[in-house]
Amino acid sequence: MTGSRHISVFADLTLEDRPHVGGKGGSLGELTRAGIDVPPGFVVRTESFEHFIQALEREAPFRARVESLDADDLDTITAVCRELRARVEAAELPADLKSEILAAHAALGTAGQAPIVAVRSSATTEDASDASFAGLQDTYLWVMDPEDMLHKIRSCWASLYSVESVSYRLRHAFPEKDVAMAVVVQVMVDARTAGVMFTRSPTTGDRSVITIEGAWGLGSSVVGGEVTPDRWVVAKITGEIPVRDISDKAIRHAPSPTGGIVDVEVDADQRREACLSDEELQALRAIGRKVERHYGRPQDIEWAIDRHTNRILLLQSRPETVWSNKEAVPAATKAEDPLTHVMSIFGGRK
């Protein structure tokens, strides 16, 4: 399925679509098109959000309520936000939008089974400092029921009307009509092991290494910092693994039978066992290099290994920003006389 104004499947998206599908959505599209194994999914575009808000506006003024607020009147902001969030969460989606989303969702299922999905907000701004202005980190995992999925989409939208977001917008006089959010709906991977990978060193910025962190179960335990993950440093070019820190992984995140994620105690004999084999580390290295080459810059990647198929899937890839934004001091520059380089050794401390 393609081409609705409201919805786009990953395969139809590129980074160019970010204004309407957010960074996460655009990146998943880009990865899918680059031939990287990504769990299938679709993006509920900002147009959907706009369509939904317009429907709310027809019932009763909505954006005007925010615009009329005084940035210093926290009590009123709190009360209005509560009211607006309740409206977003409770409102039915416009019928056309609802049926489109449900159809896209059903298409993700296999053998007549409803798919189990993750629902995540996808920010339309690249600037991390703006992240605080909306509840851009919202992620709902292991969503089993289509109605529940619709609700989670509205929950993502509702986070735009948190007290923090609204206060931020008021202080910065951000126009309400420009407020928008895309939401990613993606098939969940029942992960045996999952984690993150940086295609440069997060500690030294070294571009010649890939740092991989992983733990048993779903990657949310690693991203959320609830487990000290196993950590490896893999040389990007040679595949050497100079650092292997295997930690005690007491819990793992597992799907709950009723939806959502629960903590499960890890079996005693597995806790200190490496959650990735060397072959898997090398496969991740290859994927990391491929993605980095595709984007032309170091990446911060979330990955998971499917418990049933042992396939490595990427859940997300975003550009590494911390080191990339630093002013790099060159290790050395070309010398008029190449021999003078040796003075760095023989010339003593400078």
Partner: protein, 606 residues
């Protein structure tokens, strides 16, 4: 180097006592290398890399000759701006060394001007000077080979008399001895002619890589620079060739595990034409490629392959089996070269700017030019020439033993080289007077005492370092040749903190992780105990051990750095290796299961 207020510290030299009962053996070492009161003010470290075992009196000639030559090169010839020579001392048979940094900025400046006139000339004319160097070394080797075997005839040969030679054979002993000694001192000057410059160019590139890629491993940088056709690989190459030849001649069944070299040779002699042809090939390979010794050449008992065929023959059965199975045993030079080129290109691509890439090209270009010397010199110096030297001294030992100075020829190594000259003159004198020499009464108890002292000293651990802790080590000679940094000192200082740890740490020499059975091999005689799939744990690995790397799973050594040849060979064989652990052979038990993590430099006792 200035002292810091670090509460931890190394013992002062004056606090290290000579082991009771060994005082006279200690006093036999020359006066100028005994610790004195002023030495407490300086930092010293135990040179366990080159001298891991207590030094026999004679073997100290290596330290004396090497430090004379190293210092001359640094201080007077190349004029390194920030460092002079290396001092050495000995206590309880252990060699301690300390650098002499130049710290006065005006002096550094003055030396820099000189250095650039000298060192830069060497860099600019490297190939020409290195070729000239090889010719000098080959001439020196030829001269040493031409020295006669020391002997005293009963009567001067008639032809000497008739020729009016005018000097008698006892004088020849002195000439041969002094030429032998002189040649060894000369060889060490040649050894250091390029060495610091070579290492310096390598470390320049190394430092750049560490800055540009802070987490790059030492071994990856080494792989980018390491030569592929250096002389030091030739002995192993020759063995592979011989194994292939044995298969071609259909005599490979003579090479069986556990059969002694002598027996194999004997069975080949009886194997008719093919056996003879193989033996001819062996002779071709032996000269010069079996002039490689089983240690680093710093001890008289590190014998060469030519003197003891057990090392090369221990490797032949496995090579022959593989050749018979149709494996190509050749080192695939083109493939190795292509891999190296790819590695260099891939890292180059990761650099941020073209400006950095240009600097990278300049530095690796220079490193590649100098490296043939860095790798190649060892074969000529530490192996070929040193073998000739010790064997010539051994001939004097045989002559003296024959005259009753001591029981066995190798006992000669318990005399210092000064004492040996005295003993030779004693013998010369006795030959001339017709009276018995004094040596047979004088030397046996001294030799016995010194043997006992060596045995006693080897039971005692010696401090890694002595004296005040320097806040920083920036002496390029120390950093380059011994890999000692301030971090090394911290490791030494904290080594006592984790006595119960089940880990042994060393340099990450070649990455990979394996588990297996540890086989402690303390000398070449024990090589035969290694079974396929064992993990070799040894005091010092050496390129000459290369052939046995084909049957082991990993290697661990007490001594060695990540640029040591052991590390290079391990990488070549793709085996995990941890070197320079200090005490692996003491801490690991024979037969114990261990895990070797060559990428992190950690051995775990399981």
């Amino acid at each position: 180097m200035t002292a810091t207020g670090d509460k931890r510290g190394f013992p002062l030299p004056s606090s290290v006592k000579v082991v009771p009962g060994t005082e006279r053996a200690q006093a036999a070492y020359p006066y100028h290398i005994q610790f004195g009161p002023d030495d407490d003010k300086r930092f010293w470290f135990y040179n366990s890399m080159h001298f891991p075992e207590p030094m026999c009196s004679f073997d100290m000639v290596t330290a004396e000759a090497a430090y004379c030559a190293l210092g001359a090169a640094n201080t007077r010839v190349q004029c390194l701006p920030t460092t002079l020579g290396v001092d050495h001392r000995i206590i309880n048979g252990r060699v301690y060394i300390g650098g002499n940094a130049v710290t006065d900025p005006a002096e550094v400046e003055r030396r820099t001007v000189e250095f650039q006139k000298r060192a830069f000339y060497y860099y600019a004319n490297w190939e020409k000077l290195y070729e000239q160097w090889k010719q000098k070394m080959l001439q020196l080797i030829q001269d040493a080979q031409a020295l006669p075997k020391p002997a005293l005839p009963e009567f001067e040969p008639l032809e000497h008399v008739h020729a009016g030679r005018g000097i008698a054979s006892n004088h020849d002993l002195l000439v041969t001895y002094q030429k032998t000694l002189e040649g060894y001192f000369r060889m060490w000057h040649h050894h250091f002619e390029f060495l610091l410059l070579g290492y310096g160019a390598y470390l320049t590139f190394f430092g750049f890589c560490k800055k540009a890629f802070p987490e790059i491993t030492d071994q990856t940088i080494a792989r980018m620079v390491a030569g592929i056709e250096a002389e030091i690989f030739r002995p192993d190459d020759e063995l592979r060739r011989l194994a292939r030849h044995a298969v071609e001649l259909n005599v490979d069944h003579h090479f069986q595990e556990g059969v002694k070299a002598d027996e194999i040779l004997e069975s080949l002699r009886k194997a008719g034409e093919p056996g003879h042809r193989w033996l001819e090939e062996l002779e071709k390979a032996r000269d010069p490629w079996f002039n490689i010794n089983v240690g680093d050449g710093f001890y008289h008992y590190h014998r060469g392959w030519n003197d003891d065929l057990s090392m090369p023959f221990a490797a032949l059965p496995e090579y022959a089996r593989r050749a018979r199975a149709g494996e190509t045993l050749d080192r695939q030079m083109e493939k190795l070269q292509a891999e190296r080129a790819e590695l260099i290109a891939d890292y180059r691509e990761l650099l941020a700017t073209d400006e950095e890439r240009a600097a990278y090209d300049q530095m690796i270009g220079l490193a590649h030019r100098v490296f043939p010397y860095v790798e190649g010199h060892k074969f000529y110096c530490e192996h070929w020439y040193t073998n000739l030297f010790f064997n010539k001294i051994r001939e004097f030992g045989a002559l003296l033993a024959e005259s009753g100075f001591f029981a066995k020829e190798d006992d000669v190594f318990h005399l210092t080289h000064y004492e040996l000259e005295a003993a030779i003159i004693d013998l010369m004198n006795a030959w001339s007077t017709g009276a018995p020499p004094r040596g047979p009464q004088y030397w046996p108890p001294i030799v016995a005492e010194r043997k006992a002292a060596i045995a006693e000293w080897s039971k005692h651990r010696t401090p890694e370092a002595l004296g005040p802790i320097p806040d920083v080590i920036d002496d390029p000679a120390i950093v380059m040749l011994w890999g000692i940094t301030r971090e090394t000192l911290d490791n030494w200082l904290s080594a006592g903190d984790d006595k119960n740890s089940n880990e042994v740490r060393g340099f990450a020499a070649s990455s990979g992780v394996v588990e297996g059975t540890a086989r402690i091999v303390k000398s070449v005689e024990e090589i035969g105990r290694l079974q396929s799939g064992d993990i070799l744990v040894c005091p010092v690995t050496n390129p000459t051990w290369a052939p046995i790397f084909q049957k082991i799973k990993a290697a661990v050594s007490d001594i060695g750095g990540s640029m040591s040849h052991a590390a290079i060979v391990a990488r070549e064989y793709g085996l995990p290796a941890v070197v320079g652990t200090g005490n692996a052979t003491a801490k690991i038990k024979d037969g114990q299961r261990i895990r070797v993590d060559g990428g992190r430099g950690v051995v775990t006792l399981l």
